[in-house]
Symmetry: D2
Subunit: 333 residues, 4 copies
Amino acid sequence: MIAVLKRGVTPEQIRQLVDWLKSMALDVHVSEGRDLTVLGLIGDTSRIDKELLESMEIVGSVKRVSDPIRQANRKEPATNSIIEIGNIRLGGGYFALIAGPCSVESEDQIIEVARAVQKSGAEILRGGAFKPRTSPYAFQGLGAEGIRLLLKAKEATGMPIITELMNIKDLPLFEEIDVIQIGARNMQNFDLLKEVGRLRKPILLKRGLASTLQELLMSAEYIMSEGNEQVILCERGIRTYEPYTRNTLDLSAVPALHELSHLPVVVDPSHATGKISLIPSMAVAATAAGADGVMVEVHNDPAHALCDGAQSLTPAQFDELSRKIFRIREAIQ
Amino acid sequence: MIAVLKRGVTPEQIRQLVDWLKSMALDVHVSEGRDLTVLGLIGDTSRIDKELLESMEIVGSVKRVSDPIRQANRKEPATNSIIEIGNIRLGGGYFALIAGPCSVESEDQIIEVARAVQKSGAEILRGGAFKPRTSPYAFQGLGAEGIRLLLKAKEATGMPIITELMNIKDLPLFEEIDVIQIGARNMQNFDLLKEVGRLRKPILLKRGLASTLQELLMSAEYIMSEGNEQVILCERGIRTYEPYTRNTLDLSAVPALHELSHLPVVVDPSHATGKISLIPSMAVAATAAGADGVMVEVHNDPAHALCDGAQSLTPAQFDELSRKIFRIREAIQ
Amino acid sequence: MIAVLKRGVTPEQIRQLVDWLKSMALDVHVSEGRDLTVLGLIGDTSRIDKELLESMEIVGSVKRVSDPIRQANRKEPATNSIIEIGNIRLGGGYFALIAGPCSVESEDQIIEVARAVQKSGAEILRGGAFKPRTSPYAFQGLGAEGIRLLLKAKEATGMPIITELMNIKDLPLFEEIDVIQIGARNMQNFDLLKEVGRLRKPILLKRGLASTLQELLMSAEYIMSEGNEQVILCERGIRTYEPYTRNTLDLSAVPALHELSHLPVVVDPSHATGKISLIPSMAVAATAAGADGVMVEVHNDPAHALCDGAQSLTPAQFDELSRKIFRIREAIQ
Amino acid sequence: MIAVLKRGVTPEQIRQLVDWLKSMALDVHVSEGRDLTVLGLIGDTSRIDKELLESMEIVGSVKRVSDPIRQANRKEPATNSIIEIGNIRLGGGYFALIAGPCSVESEDQIIEVARAVQKSGAEILRGGAFKPRTSPYAFQGLGAEGIRLLLKAKEATGMPIITELMNIKDLPLFEEIDVIQIGARNMQNFDLLKEVGRLRKPILLKRGLASTLQELLMSAEYIMSEGNEQVILCERGIRTYEPYTRNTLDLSAVPALHELSHLPVVVDPSHATGKISLIPSMAVAATAAGADGVMVEVHNDPAHALCDGAQSLTPAQFDELSRKIFRIREAIQ
């Protein structure tokens, strides 16, 4: 940690600050220049409140030097985590297409959609059983029954399953689920993060609506610090002032997260845009940006979907999109 | 729900859409004008996905007419909820000052701060026992021990206590706590909301960093729909592009929430600004804007606070602020 | 324009509102349903203040039906404007790569960069002569001399030139410039828009840092309403809370603007991200999203660039990027 | 300027960087600690591109130490600029109420409103003659005729006038105008700023919709660097994701700007909220926050206002508000 002192501080003031810092068990390296004095703080600076230090009268600015992210951050330039999901691999050069309906509605529906997206090249099936809804009066998902139907679809197609967990007490239902999704609204539900950190199965962690990349990585760190290293990051749009799209898909998060972390990055253009007409372009752009996977909502009958029908592609639309995505994958090799 | 159709739709297209809507058990009132056709949908329109309807080729725009908020919304112009907290009242003309440290650190600290803020006119003591922290490596609060110390301070001063609940499983510890705080990061942790909805004690619900007023009210509705009507709304700053303050305090939320809802509104300027120098002005402005309470961080030794010291006032600063707040209360009567 | 009245309005109240609306020379079509009354306003509703109408006691909500955009909006599904820039075409299936330095610095520099990017496939040369800078003390560009050097580079390479105009009084200097850029900060400098609307040469209009797509189109409309139909829209990143990138590139603006308008859309990933390491991925993603052009900063010696060196690619980096972009163009055909 | 180098840099790498920095005519002070090396750069560092330096492989982070703001920034703790407007003073303890219609519409209207607001305690009359409008088809103000009518009202009441200038060429019309307003959309129209910097009359500079406080001050600096020191800063709401208010009024800007600058700060709650019902609370809160002036839209007949009627108070509403504002002024002394 580096503290730059204001001009005109007296030696006495410096001495007092250094004493106080030493009382917090830190080594202090003082560097006095012609115009300014810089303190280098060495030791466990995580105990220091950066903003408190900055608020002191004689301190101009404070900068953390050591990265607060220990496990999620990139260490070696070329090594990327590869997450194994059944027979599928994701990350480190492996790309996977994830598709399925917003909500599981019936056995027929989920199996029909699963077969269709599998035929078009999707390797992982997504579907919501527990649905976070803004209103307590909206359809909240089929719950345990939804999980049961997803596992039926897994049995029928062999596709691994990804679905959202909202409540720690539902965890026993997720035993055979392949990837647990932590939704955007729970990205900083720290107790939930710690709980899934004790599992040994892949976690897909969605970026919160107003979360920075740094905060997303700190939340991944919550999971990893409990021992679960299988974290997949997911960009799904952030909240901005623009009303035309539901959220603003931040595709620069893909190369930025790859720069900061070794974890794979998946993009969800369906929730981000909320508009069928924009999803294919954004799925293709995400692939071109280097995403390790793309997750798309597909419904066999979007007009009758119980939730988010407006952002679900038909199987035929998905098939066309999927061809384009694979062409892009080739183009960027 | 009102759907305005695009120009040039054919009678056959209208008929198909009306049939589909009727198949969802809705009454449809068709109003054809010279230039445009308007459909009025009557019945349980909460089953209709507004965005799906809008995405249909012949539909220009859709507008919900009925308010999705049933219990939190304002019904009578002049009736405001009054929340009773011990002997204290908050809302409907009653104003309360809430103060205390970010984190409970020791018995001496919390009792000393409690006595000081009480002397300056604070009626409710706040203090963090369970702390939501971005990093898993940061100080996470004293937990159960912190709750115990808060109750010691309650015993010593008679002040009712407000503290944050993060995890349903900790609920038994909160038996004697007077007001349970749901933090900004958990505003859409719907299972937690439902759980505290089953209690019969006041809940202080903080607005999420990127939550709209409508979403804040829907989250209050989650609590109220389970039977707990004692909800206090709290504005604590929203995330914007401005880097000078930690968040941007949205004081227009105070009259806006009063317009939309009968629930009391409290403002927390400490977390919003993150800067000691800005807190007094914002506390005073919040009072002038009509807030039903103001919640301020106070620490007997901010320089050694274990968390957020940079945003804690000293007891002396709080005393000065408190006088100003009470003068403002008189001025706006 | 559609106004939905609140429940419980009296016939007398409706009559008064209708009379007032008729006094503004509008036809009013009243449609009374069981639960609600809808007014359809026909005529020149641009004279009505939508927010004023909404603020009236008996009015629930108001919705504009007619598009306030008359010339920039999409009319026929398949017809897109093609802008001719010298021998180059942009839009309607024609794609152009635009490259060059942030600032023109010397004759050698601009000609060297022009030759390099031309060899890599760039067809239009960009370079700043008048530079909008946040600080009055920062380098403001070479001005008239910069324009002269750009025209030298045009002479040497045959590439058409694009450069920014900030002040109407500089217009005479731009006679031989092929495309005039209106910068993000001037997107709502309406007098400047009207002035370039009187020209008959292509205008590249950059989206403001906090402008909606609707506002961008309304600004294009300012230019077109004066008779200049040659407008190119440019997405260059919007301001959000995320600090890792300078701005957040909103790539969904590409398909969204194509949906709303017939005008071509160019993406500038250099200013959006502000980081060399992210520019190639974003340029490639923009191409995949369907952009009609990509504009990239290239400098022969980024380390000594007088402005924005941190976001300039070297000619070698641009060459590699350019190959990737052309492969993507093929993949999305 | 301070550059912190990454761990593990070699002496040779440091030497190269230092040589390069010296070639830019800077003194470099090298401070090597056990774990890290810090470079202090002394001289005209405004020539250094901070982001370029940060993008270099061996550089961890860079921090500017000297303030880029030279004239607008606070120098002495207690000295605040006082702006003289006719006989009125604003800033440094002097508070002024500014009121008037959004647009000047007729001689009767502007004189009637002026007399009414003057009676209620307003000291400066505002009114729009040149109106920046998003759409080229909306009412653009009466222009020169509007200026003439404003001067009639000045003659009739003795109130000094504030009105917006959009185009340098209109400047001759503003000779007798007392305060020139630069609107939010023109806050970074740098040529316009320089032009009004050459005048010797007060300028009210509105914060842009997505401008940081630092950028607002840099724009004030543009005016001051040309010799005009009479700048009044104006907070008028920033753009956020919240749809309930037109913009989000950032009242923390008031104490923040007072902390950073000696210039007076005025708040405009009318444009910020866009809703009559929220304006009084926000005007009162702005006063409590320490604003040096409050600017409110008042119209004698809001229902027939040609623009922004929804945000105009009636003279009676303004009279009530004005009493409250003056009570608050007393309470915060």
